[in-house]
Symmetry: D2
Subunit: 485 residues, 4 copies
């Protein structure tokens, strides 16, 4: 649903942020607001903040951008020294405020809020089982499944204690399968968890004496917090009045040797100013471009990125190849959510609303265009044509990742396999479709060479089809029969 068909881009599912500033600041919600602003690229559909004043969880969630949802009046109601927040991707129609996060509910253990980045592959099965045990569902997110499991856990320890909370979380997450970086908050503690394979990112930061958890380091930068380290795959981090401490999520399991960190975060999702999985995203993308130039060199006059995501790789390609770099495509930053087009026009304005080609720069030039990925190929085709219409004599498309041939089940919104052009077409066929003079994808080996890390630390199922966690082949999906909210 979240896949952006207009611009043919895959969509990350979410971003999370949490801060424990109890005793230092009563403005946890304000810091969370800033943190979510820095994570806005990870989801533009809805956002929410839950703040704790030590007794009560104060909730505000709505559809829209962070800067539109929250104002001084709303933030003033979100009292307390601790808060977690969430941004969610933009879908086209079936989006409702009831799916916004963090979820906040009351159960036998007290009040709890949950913010989730990821996707559970066995959510449908768990949901059916929970329903058969008498659970009711109001939203269509898999996060609701986790909350139900939490409420049905029977851990040791008294309700309200951290022991009980951690026990509940372990019992709940012990039943789920998939990708998750999650924040939990009770009136007394914040808990951050990353699944054992570490699909989605999660980092720990420090702002003076306060602790911060966030999907990306860019959120730390904005509030001027220091980056401490990644939350490790399979780690559980507890922050409360007694400070911060780390435990293994499933102490009885052996730590995973094969990790599943999402390599696509490096390619497209993460902001270039983030440090992801221990590496600068910008630097990694820059290396992709250099490697791409080595693998697919071509004689040309200009290297042009598809802005903004293609810029670092294009700079790398230009450096490696010695071909001059130029911003031959300009991007508009005022694209509205819904755009009216002349009915009489036979042309689709979609991509043109966002990108324009610079005739003065491109005319008479042989152009290497660098983009991060090709999903269905529709937008690439428009971009190639736009560049040629602006006067380019040759257009060579270079992609800073391997062919995207397999859908993701771990938190990224992709079209079905049939719609992924690389799953049904060879590279020369794709070149023909997008009307490029040549087309070159970065190789899988080149990808890891550029990252400078082992492939065993990453999930690259979207390129390789090697899925690290099994998922239902064709899930007997119960259609959700309650729509709207």
């Amino acid at each position: 649903m979240g896949y952006d068909a207009v611009y043919d881009k895959m969509k990350d599912e979410c971003g999370v942020f949490g801060i424990w500033a109890v005793g230092h600041s009563e403005e946890a919600a304000n810091f969370t607001y800033l943190g979510l602003h820095a994570l806005q690229h990870r989801g533009q559909e809805s956002a929410g903040i839950v703040a704790s004043d030590g007794e009560t969880l104060h909730v505000h969630r709505d559809m829209g951008l962070v800067a539109d949802i929250f104002n001084a009046e709303v933030l003033a109601k979100l009292k307390g020294g601790a808060a977690i927040g969430h941004v969610r991707y933009s879908t086209t129609g079936a989006s409702h405020v009831k799916n916004a996060q963090p979820l906040a509910v009351q159960y036998a253990g007290g009040a709890i809020a949950v913010a989730h980045n990821g996707n559970l592959v066995n959510a449908e099965a768990l949901r059916a089982e929970l329903e058969s045990q008498g659970s009711i569902f109001t939203a269509s997110t898999d996060t609701e499944v986790v909350v139900h499991l939490l409420a049905r856990a029977r851990p040791t320890g008294a309700p309200g204690t951290v022991e009980h909370l951690l026990g509940s979380i372990r019992q709940a997450l012990g039943k789920v399968s998939g990708a998750y970086s999650m924040l939990f908050m009770t009136p007394k503690a914040i808990v951050g968890v990353r699944d054992p394979m570490g699909f989605r990112p999660l980092v720990l930061g420090r702002l003076k004496g306060n602790w911060v958890l966030a999907s990306e380091t860019t959120a730390l930068d904005l509030i001027e917090a220091d980056y401490v380290r990644e939350v490790h795959p399979g780690e559980i981090v507890v922050i409360d009045a007694s400070g911060v401490r780390s435990e293994r999520l499933f102490p009885e399991q052996r730590p995973a040797t094969r990790l599943g960190r999402c390599v696509f975060e490096h390619i497209y999702f993460a902001r270039p100013d983030s440090v992801l999985f221990g590496r600068s995203v910008y630097e990694v993308r820059h290396s992709f471009g250099k490697q791409l130039a080595k693998e697919h060199s071509v004689e040309a006059d200009l290297v042009v990125p598809v802005p903004d995501s293609g810029v670092p790789a294009a700079i790398g390609y230009a450096e490696q190849s010695g071909i001059p770099f130029a911003m031959g495509l300009v991007r508009s930053h005022y694209v509205g959510r819904t755009f009216i087009e002349p009915q009489q026009s036979i042309r689709h304005f979609g991509v043109k609303l966002k990108l324009n080609a610079l005739r003065g720069v491109l005319t008479g030039k042989r152009v290497v265009v660098v983009d991060d990925s090709v999903v269905r190929g529709t937008t690439s085709r428009k971009i190639v044509k736009m560049i040629r219409a602006a006067g380019a004599t040759e257009v060579h498309l270079r992609i800073s990742s391997p062919p995207t041939a397999w859908p993701c089940y771990y938190g990224i919104d992709t079209p079905t396999r049939q719609e992924l052009i690389a799953s049904t077409h060879t590279t020369p066929e794709i070149a023909t479709y997008v009307t490029a003079d040549s087309l070159g994808y970065l190789s899988l080996e080149g990808l890891y060479a550029a990252i400078g890390d082992e492939r065993t630390g990453f999930c690259d199922a979207c390129f390789s089809g090697e899925y690290l966690i099994e998922f239902p082949k064709r899930p007997a999906q119960t259609p959700l029969r309650v729509v709207g909210g």
Copy 2:
């Protein structure tokens, strides 16, 4: 919470409406919209409609008035031949859209929507028990308790069948105690239920071949449906493709001989054009006035109602006493939700925004003022003073109900016992407080004489303190620790 402190009026909790027009009309939501409009006086905080297209429930709920929440675009999305709706009272601060109704959830039995008018006295206990069994709660309404009980029921019959649905409803309602007139809707049926003592009203109507359920007959009038009959206390009415049929809610129980129909509906809540518990509300109020004149006659020049609710009783009083009737108070119909007052003023404008006294009518007159009830006495005091300031030489306050001395636990929002002036003051003391020359309340006997019915058919706990259903004396109330939404 819903008690209107500005105008010192008790508040009804809600109104419900449902229509089954499958096969006849695909505009069930439009009819429900009109029905809710006619029931708007029963709740102005929020409203919602759930429509069924036979497969899916389509939901829209929001804060505000019916005419503001729904427009052509929204109604067009609420597709189908069956729909239920709900209006909810206005509270001052803690109102959130997540408390709006109808609730619509998915559970093992499929999708279901619930609209509830009433109050469950054991909701807190049930909630605690459900939480201990692993249920989670997102809102603060007792309706959520009913839905959880429904989901945990284990009736006979296959999920999705009416047998299973009715079994679930019976098991769920078998555990609750209190007042409820409820509508349930699945994709395949609408079910109306009234509690065994029949506290809150519910009527059955017919619009050509279609069946309608509503809190009051005024909703039938608007859509030009015929009034068929009341849904009986303890009755369950099922409407589906096979027509309408009636069953007893708890067949194994003996029908209640002592009923608890809310006598305050006749006094204030219901619209005067409704037929309530088989009697015209206007006629009943008119009789209250006549009886009141018999019990508390006084020499005077004018009988003046407090509009609008005091009008029929004042007409009756005037007729019985022979004193001329006059609209000596005029009511504004443009009172906004929030009203700005000059800070420098020492006076409170509250009542003046709504009522004004007619100097030309009242000057030099001995005035009988007729109102329906006195709660804290604050507004009565202002009205008496306003009439005297307009030139009346005497002001005699007549109340068309007995002294309100006990809080309601069955669906009406009242202040605490301490705030009810009649629980702590004698009638002469109240007369002094409200600065009236005399004060007369209708007697309890006179009330039933005027209705022309047996007291054993009604709940009058607010006057008598005779509560028909036990409620927790001082419930060990778990504070809700999730606020907002």
Copy 3:
């Protein structure tokens, strides 16, 4: 345009309010807000307030109801000790915020704001003349004409002085013909003017040491100001730092002996709690009813008003005739601006959304229905049918005014002559059309007998066709060619 075709009611054009509280209160805008609230019945389309802080005029105008347009934040920006405000009628489509009042402009004399209740019969001609002299027009109100005339006046006295201001007003109004009660405000003074024949009402009040001007006394009542007197026809009232003083608008003219006070204000427009042209509106309407009973008696069981405007006359009719009074029609107070109706319905819900007949009261009864006026007859027909459908055996329609047979050109919005049923049909024909068993209108003589005043003091052109000011027979109307704003 403002004529309410849904409910077949003529529409008053506007209400005005002004307060000079300089030195006493810096909350002039707040008092104006309350005053406009009390005048809301005179116009629901748009509203505005202009406040003066002694140097600058602060403006806020918008579409909608007073309580929706103004909030604490907006009112806080309307600083100063003096303010004027305006409410404007509701039209169906061509309403734009640029037509909202008060107008506030800057010209050679400084800043000035104008609020106007009335209609200028020579506005089109003046507009054409002004355009030919180089004036530009942005709105479609005749008030803009007055402002242009003001700016082109060449009075004695220095710009910014009261002498200059009054001279400008006199020169400007000397050119216009028609009905006007107007408020002007500069940073230093408020001026109230009423045309020489006094068509539209305007009263002077006092709130402690402050002076208030308002269309009706109900606005004085709400802010607890004392009613001082009417502003006289042809009077100009100046309020500034030196106090209040009165002058004749056109000292060189002899005072008008024939006045044109709008008799329809007494019949329908004014609020019943107002004192209008020196008489209580309620009392006058009550007398209309008594007179009507004398003129058109009938044997019947009940006298029923069409609420709310028909209530005082119905009470008078009942008293005079001895027939019991009953509120056999109930009015809804939640009618929204736009209402969605089921498409499949062949019936028009219009009137039903607002009125419902009480079957329990009306069944088997011979009913006298009292309404204030009949315009096209469409709504009367629906009401008569509604009452008969509720079980009445006879329905006798009584109208507390003479037949409305002529359009108004002095500030009231009426349909064209052809649409006025009384201009083309006899009373028996109208009775047949509205399906009443009998129909009786109050006679013109009876009208004045009931008021207890001379006909020469009033305009009754809508009944008599005797127009007191000539107007263009068929104005060569230049179509406004700028729509929207």
Copy 4:
């Protein structure tokens, strides 16, 4: 007012767009909507469209972004084959919808709409003169002055003819002094005018048989119109049913030899994909960077632009110097209008909300930062510090324009002279203030060398203080005494 103090950027005043598609398309408003979207960078405060259906002008104007103001419903009301539109800059407080453009009024010549980009230096004097002749003013824009002059013109030809219209425009513009690119539209024609010195840009395009006028060519690109040519300084272009034709605005004057095209459009305002004054903006900026490298070389490791405006010059600098180019600062595209910051923080988040420095890229590097201009220096200082905090060992600031030392009076919003850091500080002093290791501005000679054109064709008063049109030294400014709308 429009100067962006948060980000220390000067602001262009407006953008205009017009299309004549009569006979070809009835969707002129839709095309205008797209055109304004492409010009959104020229003004984000308010926008408006006026469409002509041949008889009537249909207007819609509001505060906000183009994509928020217009939707399908609004555009459907803007009927006709011709339309003009306008976007206006963002001010901080005193912005009101009444200042939004296009203005649309009715005068003796009929209906006319005007959209203006520029600034009239004698507007205050003209306004005073017009007021003394009886004109009234409702807004605070100098465009209103032009409309009044137009309405007071006395040209030959019958009202409504093109002859009359052109005569009126010539008489009106003959009195104004300053910078203007203006569009006029009557129901029958669109007229585009550019002042004799050509300060602000205006281009002519063709979309199949239809003619288009726009501030920048990027608006032509979006609707896929062809760029025909610039409207010449002192040219008047008339588009109507008889096609397009060009005349000289003031035929009796000799064409200006000294032109005043705004050189700052090339430096910052125009979009890089536009062709401005006959040259590619991107190419010009790229040349600025090369020239800057020649004038102010330095030993360094990286060239980093301040995105987005500094990018082309930085690429040029990198190419010329051989120092690698890197996107070491990343820009957020989700900055909301109002942003809440933690109160307890002592730091100002302003720039950080928009820009973040990439530690991984910058650490240990000697960095050349390229920006387009320095106004007050406050943001430059923050950027230099941010880069150093990210680990840069040296920060060398390079500005692709000369020191901005003089305010603009021709349509650009600048701070006062005192606030322009370059008017009171030497370059070394500015370097010290912004904490840069070195600072280099492009020289004025270098600027024109890079453009490749004569200085006599441009206005560079902001750098040189050589103002081409006299303006009042200290205008006796009448304070506007009507605030709000």
